[in-house]
Amino acid sequence: MMVYARSLYGARDLLWSWTRRTIQGRYQQSALGWLWAVIQPAATVFIFSIIFTMVVPIDTGEIPYVVFSFAAVTPWTFLATSLTDMSTSLVQNMTLVTKIYFPREALPIAAMLARLMDFGIAAVLLLILVIWYQLPVLQPALLFLPLIILIQIILIIGIGLTAAALNVFFRDVQPLMTLGIQLWFYASPIIYPVTLVPEWLRPYYYLNPMAGIIQAYRNVLLFGAAPESHLLLSAGLSVGILAFGYWLFKRLEFQFADIV
């Protein structure tokens, strides 16, 4: 694991320029540019707010539904877009992969970093909403935020590396990923609070690492509370997934150029 970390550290300049390339390439020909980072979650939350406050009302306590769902949709969008981009990151750059040697994990990880920037932009809108609805902003619980983001990144890299590597061999991974993300969305507390999940189901429910992570985001951002212990489970699962993903990726790495 240390070897991997060192090789990744050695490729930090590559990570940086590839991330820049991805971001610049994405917004070069688009009129709204980085605004898309906000439009996507905002539109989702807008629809949710109409449906889940007027059509099928969901009780979110004293927190307005808009903020309640935005606090979850933002990190979720980060995960979903990252995984989609990561799974195609190698396949789309096969000419490079088959011609030049560089630490291959740089491509999927840079795809994630490029989405991390979108996440940052969307977070600004979240902050504006929090202030608008006069929720407490500066609280000691915010110190947990970097930790939660780190755990989420670990989870994303773990799944993303696995998907990127397998996608070279089986293109089924792409549609599978889209489908998986769709189902996973409903298995995570995004449009509803965890309190609506039946008591008996919860131990299994938290086997979904995103459940603990999103719950932690809400606790910290909306309630000014420390994350619950479920975050530890999420962290453990995420690290395990990362170890597996990295191991698999490194194992398959030298076969990428042989399959075209």
Partner: protein
Amino acid sequence: MSARIRFENVSKKYLLGQTRTSLPSVVSEWLARTIRNRSGPPPEDRVLWSLRDVSFDLDEGQSLALLGPNGAGKTTILKLLANITKPTSGRIETAGQLSALIELGAGFHPDLTGRENIFLNGTILGLSRKYIADRFDEIVDFSELERFIDTPVKRYSSGMIVRLGFAVASCIEPEILLVDEVLAVGDATFRQKCMQRIRSLMKGGTSIIFVSHNLYLVQAVCDRGLYLHKGQLQFLGTVDEAISVYEQRLHQERAEKFEIGDAEAAGSLDYDVEISRVEVLDGGGRPAEVLRSDEPARIQIHYHAFKSIGKAHASVFIMRSDGLTCCMMRTKISGVALHIERGSGMITVDLEPLQLISGTYYAEAHFLNETDSMELDAKSGRSDWFSVQGRFLSYEESSGVYEPLVSWEQRSLDNPHNHHAWAIDGIGSTIDAPGGSSGKKEKK
């Protein structure tokens, strides 16, 4: 001196048809295989040994050319060295930093500017941003793209992209440099510059592995040659020996092909006319592999017509080994009308003298229809490689393509008696022009 590169009994196996792209196909393939021969080895016809038991060493400052037809395993050797793929068996050792001039500009992003792409491509090649920043001006200078450096790369021509790619990839001074056919694009002046850069790296001790179909460049750059055929090492020695072994083999193969062609000719009516052989003869009318630039040469085209065609035209090209078309000779333009009857025949073109500069060439012949506008339903033909010896010994591309017959004259406008004229009727010899006061080559 320790070896920079050591290849020990390296083999690389590929399984053909392994492009698994969907799950159902994998499952059905797996089922088919289990039913046919329970988990036996894959059938022999699906195994491709891209390299088989290849061993060689390369020392500091040496340069090795990889020769061989497509699919011989040259690219596989480069990929193994560049750590893109791993050998099936055998050991590969490399010492020192390695850089590859392969697929220049592969890492460029079309929407980014030249400046941004220099950093992007450089980091892909393993350089740090600081290193690139320090050499940025040098890179831009070398690429000659100062004016376009802030223009998106998508507006660049392919030649410009190669220039930028080469400039980035060669700004390092690596211990090992892999060069794969990258100089095929780009203009001659820039190619010359690249060659200079490669040579100066060699002087600095860089070991080079060079792949090119351009036998000029190969001869100019490399001191050793390795000839591969179907993944197996056929010859390893000096570059001149390796090239001649390679050419001999090409020659042999073509001869075999033509023999088979003759045997099948009676039965095959795929063509109306078939050029069975193209021969290059020297001034004495003998088949030759080496011709002199200042002597006549003759190209003979042997054909077989399976039916009477009537009026037709022929065109003959002379191609240089780097793919340059040196000249085109057409019966139409010479005002010659061919008449092809059923049966065998021969067409002869005389070049008096040949006038090509030193180099390796081949001749190619085609038949065209009566109006010289469409190729006939004919099998065209190619001669073997032949080399030409001219006054220039080197293969510098600045020497041009041909050596014209020239005469020189010098006169002083102040002193009408000071008048020299030289006419060259052969390499090195001079004759006095009538009225000339001197026949010496040097000025008085």
